[in-house]
């Protein structure tokens, strides 16, 4: 057993372990009846996805995934749950009456996608070189040169979205006072 085979074997075991956690976490998000538990399971899923990104040679994206998704997004959703759901938390994550139709449509979609992607032959186009070890330098240089306009547009988008979110969430107070007067 040479060292290359051993390395591939370890990577394969890591992939299957992380993929199991991801899929079980995503299923728990859909099927747990309490929405707070669902958000917790979403954080678990995102951390496992960050582990998968480490396997894919993207350590910076993995770190951003943990910060932004498992940190900020999950925290924001928990805040919204605490603001919105008042009464019993027990049955806050239930199904509507399209369960069978939706399940059938999704099963068909996944079957088609998984069949074609499992049988696709990417060996003709796949590269022989590996991803460079120092990804941060390449990413920083590309963001400041080739993708500079897109980078600035993303910054403007974030600013506008967060300003709009503040406006939408606080707008109601003034209207509520005027409707009370009538």
């Amino acid at each position: 057993m040479d060292i290359n085979f051993l390395y591939d074997f370890i990577v394969a075991q890591a992939f299957y372990a992380v993929a199991t956690v991801i899929l079980l976490g995503a299923l728990a998000v859909v099927f747990l009846p309490n929405i707070v538990h669902a958000v917790l399971m979403l954080a678990v899923t995102f951390i496992a996805v960050a582990g998968l990104f480490l396997l894919l040679d993207a350590p910076f994206i993995a770190a951003v995934m943990v910060f932004v998704y498992a940190g900020a997004v999950c925290l924001m959703i928990v805040f919204a749950v605490m603001l919105i759901q008042r009464r019993h938390m027990k049955l806050t994550n239930v199904f509507n009456n399209q369960l069978k139709v939706g399940g059938a449509v999704v099963a068909l979609t996944v079957a088609v996608m998984a069949y074609f992607s499992a049988n696709a032959r990417w060996s003709d186009v796949s590269a022989v070189t590996a991803v460079p070890k120092d990804t941060m330098n390449f990413l920083a240089e590309l963001l400041m040169t080739k993708y500079f306009v897109a980078f600035e547009a993303a910054a403007i988008l974030l600013t506008m979205a967060l300003t709009g979110a503040i406006m939408i969430a606080r707008e109601v107070k003034a209207n509520a006072g005027s409707t009370d007067d009538n």
């Binding site: 085979f5 979403l42 996805v49 040679d57 998704y69 997004v73 993303a154």
Partner: protein, 108 residues
Amino acid sequence: MPDLLTTISLNHYVVLSAILFGIGLFGALVKRNAITVLLCIEIMLTAVMINLLAFNKFITPMDFTGQIFSIFVITVAAAEVGVGLAILIAIYRNQLTVNLDDLDWLKW
């Protein structure tokens, strides 16, 4: 088949991403709570990011297109969650519900 279990190819990642996208789509179609639908949209975006990074590693490792675009996907997803939650809070103040079956007053 020992090859499938010991070497991880691009197909593994794409199949995993397809299944994860399917779970997210299922949740977005059949859940009644609007916040859960937001969670499931996040799961679908994550599946897309797995695809981008897998193609980045196996097809164009020197171009970094997939990694750059997954950064943009993260940005757009964060903006989407912020605006979505603000809209849900505003709807809850007006209607006292986030049940998607009740939010049909734009029909007809």
